[in-house]
């Protein structure tokens, strides 16, 4: 088997690059998705923007910064330059440029100690200090929450997110007031992590399987996926195996009996199902077999401990406690989903096997074997079919790896809580971490399947690896 080693290494390197690119695409798509993972929390009246900003920090979307504003940061602004200024007061200002729009800003200081009030102005564009107005409510302190804290008083973002340029204006209620030299305003602000940092973090997390926590269910994403992947495998893995087990003999037979009625029927029927919308076939089957006839469950992957109406126990009379219950339970729930996949996927296998057989049958050695007078069965099964198996084997490996992705919609139709359904619900409920990780896992398994298929192909057909 000379040459297989370098071939495998080459394929592995390619696979890593592929994984990297795919992960990058996944990241880019989720960055481009409208909305932010913290969006759902804004509907919660018990959370203020500061808390949500801290969540964003926890999710790795943003960074928390701390700083202090002291007397030397503030400059005097003459009353004449300030629109709406009270002539009996003195104003000092300080301009902060956060570089990006912050998610939240908190100023914390002891107001009673200095006898001062504070105004905050925030805008997306940089405006000169003499253009800000105290009369303007939209940017003034009223839009900010004002509450007592441990240090003294705090002013923090409320409702509207603060903008990049923020003026802090101190208002001393006497003329010609000097700024206290011991002034100390603690400042905390949260700004989004730069894009490249988020990218690096995402790639790192994905490659180390550090998927974080589902925003909706608060469960670790890894646990959720570990729970869902076997279910999807059970359905789609079993289905894939069955499709090949049934499809290969049919394909072989119709290739051998070229032009017969069986060929027309098999190809016509299987292509008809092949071109069906999968979800629709699922719906029709549920309508016929589950609702109308009542033979199969309406959905779900198992009844488990439930024994209510429609459960396995109520319908089939085999209840929890019975040693064969788990098999019956899962099996009964799988009948319809399996049937759907069988019908949908059969055409692919039949046609592939048929084509492959036809090509093999055109080879001279088949003619030779026939000419030798070997029985037809031997020629078909030993000479033709074995050689025709090559593309089938690789396609099986690929199909198996694709099966993890499942049929996103079919899982929804059958309320079968596998990877695809998890992905779909995560996407619609803005549970971005769960959705991202699901997509990553689906892609990863496809890539692994591809490597295995490539290696297998290289192993079975030495011509491939010599290219």
């Amino acid at each position: 088997m000379a040459g297989l080693g370098p071939y495998v290494v080459k394929r592995l390197i390619q696979a890593v690059i592929t994984l990297f690119v795919v992960t990058s695409i996944v990241w880019a798509l989720f960055e481009a998705m409208p909305g932010d993972p913290t969006d759902p929390f804004y509907a919660n009246p018990n959370l203020n923007p500061g808390d949500i900003a801290k969540m964003a920090v926890q999710f790795g979307l943003a960074e928390e910064h701390h700083g202090y504003l002291t007397a030397s940061d503030f400059k005097l602004i003459p009353n004449s330059q300030l629109d709406g200024a009270d002539p009996t007061c003195t104003y000092y200002y300080h301009l902060i440029d956060f570089q990006r729009h912050p998610r939240a800003v908190v100023f914390n200081f002891n107001i009673s100690k200095y006898g001062v009030s504070i105004y905050i102005f925030s805008s997306a564009k940089k405006v000169p200090v003499n253009e800000i107005s105290l009369n303007e409510e939209s940017t003034a302190k009223y839009k900010w929450a004002d509450y007592s804290s441990l240090v003294g008083r705090a002013i923090q973002t409320a409702g509207v997110l603060p903008k990049r340029y923020t003026y802090v204006l101190l208002n001393f209620s006497k003329q010609n007031a000097q700024i206290p030299q011991d002034l100390n305003i603690a400042m905390m602000y949260v700004v989004d992590t730069p894009l490249y940092v988020r990218y690096v973090e995402f790639i790192k997390d994905m490659f180390t399987f550090n998927f974080g926590i589902s925003i909706r269910t608060n469960q670790p994403v890894r646990e959720i996926l570990a729970d869902r992947i076997p279910r999807t495998l059970l359905w789609f893995g079993t289905a894939t195996i069955l499709v090949y087990l049934i499809g290969i003999p049919i394909g072989t037979y119709i290739a051998w009996r070229r032009g017969g009625v069986a060929e027309g029927v098999a190809i016509g029927t299987s292509l008809f199902f092949y071109n069906m919308p999968s979800f629709w076939l699922g719906l029709v089957f549920i309508w016929i077999f589950s609702y109308t006839l009542g033979w199969t469950p309406i959905g779900g992957y198992a009844s488990g401990n439930l024994t209510g109406p429609g459960s396995t126990c109520a319908k089939l009379g085999i209840c929890p406690g019975n040693p064969i219950y788990p098999i019956v339970d899962y099996g009964w729930h799988l009948i319809l989903p399996l049937l759907v996949i069988l019908l949908l996927g059969m055409a692919g296998v039949i046609l592939l096997q048929r084509t492959s057989m036809l090509e093999t049958m055109g080879e001279d050695y088949i003619l030779t074997a026939k000419a030798k007078g070997l029985p037809e069965k031997v020629v078909r099964n030993k000479h033709a079919r074995r050689n025709a198996m090559l593309p089938i084997v690789t396609s099986f490996v690929l199909a198996f790896s694709y099966s993890i992705g499942g049929a996103v919609i079919l899982e929804q139709i059958f309320s079968y809580y596998g990877v695809g359904y998890t992905y779909l619900t995560a996407l619609t409920t803005q549970d971005f971490f769960l959705a991202g990780a699901s997509l990553y896992i689906i892609s990863l398994l496809v890539i692994i399947g591809n490597i295995i298929a490539d290696i297998l192909y290289g192993f079975l057909d030495p011509r491939v690896r010599l290219q």
Partner: protein
């Protein structure tokens, strides 16, 4: 050799290759079948407007969409008249309310108590569910004329009305000991010689014996009571002892030249404080006219407005005579006894009438605004004819400085040529009054519905009927009908038209506004057994009388305005059938295939909005073709160029490009497309773009392989030697030669794109405005009809299957042509 032009050469080449191609193609049976499928759907897409009876916007009219249940029963005696007895509103249990149906059998009156069948079995005992409205209680009675002293044996009951009790029709409950909510109120009827006021409590307790027979010196031709007692008002009238306002009602009876007005003091039936009935009823007006009275006069009385101030409106009589219209306002003076006098009512009323004669004739009974609470806004509408122009005068009951009613010229509504034959309907929405009125145009034989809107201060302007798309109709034609009664059901936004030949037509304004389709059709019904037909029931009978009944909960109106179970009542004298019918009906959408009462035939039924599914199915082919072909075209364009460049350039360019194509192949297609469409927003163009941009990788590999083999062919070398540039070779030498393969993959790509569009639409990511098969399947899911509406579930799925099968089969046939090894040897 003759010179042939370049185009001629191309043409000949094309013809030749088509001929050859077809010869090869026609060998494939599957290919022929696929082509037939595609052509079939292409025919649907192109000929959609011809093939469909409706447009995709069409919505099934309410006659079809709503099941108006009709409950009917037969009686043994002849029916000469029918009245509704409204009983109670603020009863302890609102849900158990009900009304009396009173039938005039000539020498007897039959009373049947009915309840809203929609509420039967919910608040009431569950065991009576599915009962008929009249079966829920055993309350019924027969009042025979023999039992009333003073009536001759030769007399018959000619007119019958019911005076609602103080508890009825949004009047606040005037209650006390001994009261029975079912037996409260008076039956008032006339015979050839008498007017009888008969307390209904007599029927509960035979020893109660409270009724009054009044001799009339003419044979009555009409009988009317004030609109409050008639339960016509839509707002509550307050009565209580402390307000110095007393429950009074007015009864008016007359013939063509006489008019007699009585007042009656009442509290509630079986009130121990009630004086003898003889002291409670008093004749307060007795008029004789030389002109003939042409319609039953309007007796507009509103108890809450009972006040001696002439500046308030409310108490109006309109007497329409042949040449004049006479208005009376008044009976305003009352005297309240300082101490109660035993056996006498606490209040005496003296008429103080102001008469106003207008020298025009009414063409229909007057209309009035049926709400009472606000003073000064009770306009009375007088339909008249000015020359040959139909007009609607508005009488301000509040009147001029002396309180005499005037016609407010500023408020006059003009309807153009014709005559108003039905009393106009007026109701209030926000600050505005809306008037619906029909006119009959004898020259065309049609009636026309008009709508006016305005306030009493600003005046009325004609309003067009505007649907949601902004289409305007100045008026709505009611074809071949002379509307003699108009009924606007505010709760349902429906208009009913009763024609001169006693046909009941319906116009659902709510449906008109949403769909833009004007559908005036015969009102049709379903029996609870599921039989349907054109009103009235039984089929073939002739409608004798149609009454607006209301909510069947004791009052004509429900305490809350939003209500859909509003009933009408009717009887047919020829078959002796009495019935109740739900005016709005229950939604039956989605409708299964079949012919429906409006005469429409829905070949594939309708969806939950009433759209005709056959129409949608045919128009859906258009979107399928657009999405499928364009998306596949984008895929093939990208894939071919990519493959040609990659294959022709070779070397590291090829390696990098093919690695990238491999990566694109690895990306799970649907999950990525899901995200992308949700980023880009739902639109078929975005779907086409996304499918195109993510589906080219497989094609590019095949095209590359072809390019590699073409690159080694002599003609490429020849082009190179001739000095053609790299791009020129790729575009004009290689690309045309890979086009057959591109076309092959395009046909297969179309199938995939159609399936993916359906899947995306099903997940709600499709274009919500598109008339597509995927959208049909999405809406069946949102409507929750998946598990029964097979006529809705199956056709779009089969269409998707067949069209993509068609493209797939054509693709396979091409494949066999291009890869001869696959062909049969």
């Amino acid at each position: 050799m003759p010179e042939i032009s370049r185009w001629e050469e191309i043409r000949r080449h094309m013809v030749r290759s088509l001929k050859n191609g077809w010869k090869l193609y026609s060998q494939s049976k599957f290919g022929i079948a696929g082509l037939a499928l595609i052509l079939f759907f292409a025919f649907l897409a192109v000929a959609a407007p011809i093939l469909t009876p409706y447009t995709p916007d069409f919505e099934a009219p309410p006659q079809d969409a709503l099941k108006a249940y009709l409950y009917a029963f037969d009686v043994s005696q002849n029916i000469y008249g029918m009245a509704i007895g409204y009983t109670q509103l603020y009863a302890p249990n609102l849900m158990t309310g009900g009304d009396w149906i009173l039938l005039n059998h000539g020498t007897s009156i039959e009373g049947i108590y009915v309840q809203n069948p929609a509420l039967v079995g919910t608040a009431l005992n569950k065991s009576v569910a599915n009962m008929k409205p009249w079966e829920t209680t055993n309350l019924n009675f027969t009042l025979t004329l023999d039992s009333i002293k003073g009536i001759g044996s030769d007399e018959n009951i000619t007119h019958l009305i019911y005076a609602s009790p103080s508890t009825s029709d949004l009047q606040l409950h005037y209650n006390g000991p001994g009261q029975n909510p079912y037996f409260d109120g008076e039956i008032i009827f006339t015979t050839q010689k008498h007017l009888v006021i008969y307390d209904i409590y007599n029927l509960k307790n035979s020893s109660y014996n409270r009724y009054m027979v009044i001799n009339l010196n003419f044979e009555p031709k009409w009988l009317v009571e004030d609109v409050t007692s008639e339960a016509q008002l839509t707002s509550a009238v307050l009565y209580n002892y402390t307000m110095q306002v007393y429950p009074l009602r007015f009864i008016m009876v007359g013939d063509e030249h006489h008019l007699q007005l009585f007042y009656q003091y009442y509290t509630y039936s079986n009130d121990p404080h009630l004086p003898p009935i003889e002291n409670c009823v008093k004749l307060i007006m007795n008029k004789t006219y030389s002109d003939k009275i042409i319609y039953t006069p309007l007796l507009f009385f509103n108890g809450n407005l009972y006040d001696s101030s002439p500046n308030k409106d409310g108490n109006i009589i309109v007497v329409p005579t042949e040449n004049n219209t006479i208005l009376y306002k008044g009976f305003d003076r009352k005297m309240i006894y300082p101490v109660p006098i035993p056996g006498q009512p606490p209040v005496q009323v003296y008429p103080k009438l102001m008469e106003k004669k207008f020298n025009f004739t009414l063409t229909a009974p007057p209309g009035f605004y049926p709400s009472a609470q606000d003073l000064g806004s009770n306009p009375i509408l007088l339909p008249v004819k000015d020359g040959n122009i139909a007009k609607l005068y508005v009488v301000r009951a509040k009147g001029d400085s002396k309180g005499i009613p005037v016609i407010d010229e500023r408020l006059t509504m003009t309807l153009g040529v014709g005559e108003i034959h039905a009393a106009p309907q007026i109701y209030k929405a926000g600050d505005n009054l809306t008037v619906y009125v029909t006119k009959y145009d004898p020259s065309t034989g049609h009636s026309y519905l008009y709508k006016f809107r305005g306030t009493l201060s600003r005046g009325f302007i004609q309003e067009h009927f505007v649907d949601k798309k902004g289409n305007k109709l100045e008026n709505i034609k009611i074809p071949a009908a002379d509307v003699k009664r108009l009924l606007y059901v505010e709760e349902n936004n429906q208009l009913f038209f009763l024609t001169r030949d006693m046909k009941l037509l319906i116009l659902d304004l709510h449906q008109y506004l949403s769909s833009g389709y004007v559908e005036i059709g015969r009102f049709s019904y379903y029996t609870p057994e599921g039989k349907r037909g054109v009103f009235p029931y039984p089929p073939g009978s002739k409608l004798s009388q149609f009454i607006f009944v209301g909510s069947l909960q004791g009052s004509r109106y429900r305490a809350t305005t939003a209500s859909f179970d509003i009933y009408g009542g009717y009887y047919c004298a020829d078959t002796k059938t009495v019935g109740l019918v739900l005016l709005k009906g229950e939604s039956q959408l989605p409708l299964p295939p079949g012919r429906y009462p409006s005469g429409n035939f829905y070949f594939l039924g309708t969806d939950d909005k009433g759209h005709d599914l056959w129409t949608w199915l045919v128009y859906g082919a258009r979107v399928a073709f657009i999405v499928g072909i364009l998306a596949a075209f984008v895929q093939v364009m990208i894939g071919s160029l990519y493959g040609v460049i990659s294959g022709y350039r070779g070397g590291w360019v090829d390696t990098v490009m093919m690695r990238f194509a491999d990566i694109m192949l690895t990306i799970p297609f649907l999950p990525i497309v899901l995200i992308l469409t949700s980023i880009l927003g739902p639109s078929i163009w975005n779907i086409i773009l996304v499918l195109g941009v993510f589906g080219w990788a497989g094609i590019s590999r095949v095209i590359r392989a072809q390019t590699l083999s073409l690159k080694a062919r002599p003609f490429v070398d020849a082009a190179k030697v001739a000095g053609a540039s790299r791009w020129r070779i790729m575009v004009s030498h290689i690309l045309p030669n890979v086009l057959p393969f591109a076309f092959l993959y395009m046909t297969i790509g179309v199938a995939g794109a159609i399936l993916t569009e359906a899947a995306l639409s099903y997940l709600g990511l499709g274009d919500p405005r598109a008339v597509s098969w995927g959208q049909m399947l999405y809406s069946i899911q949102t409507a929750g009809a998946t598990m029964y509406a097979w006529w809705w579930l199956l056709p779009p799925g089969f269409s998707i299957t067949l069209i993509s099968l068609g493209f797939y089969l054509v693709g396979r046939a091409f494949d066999e042509i291009l890869n001869p090894r696959l062909r049969k040897r």
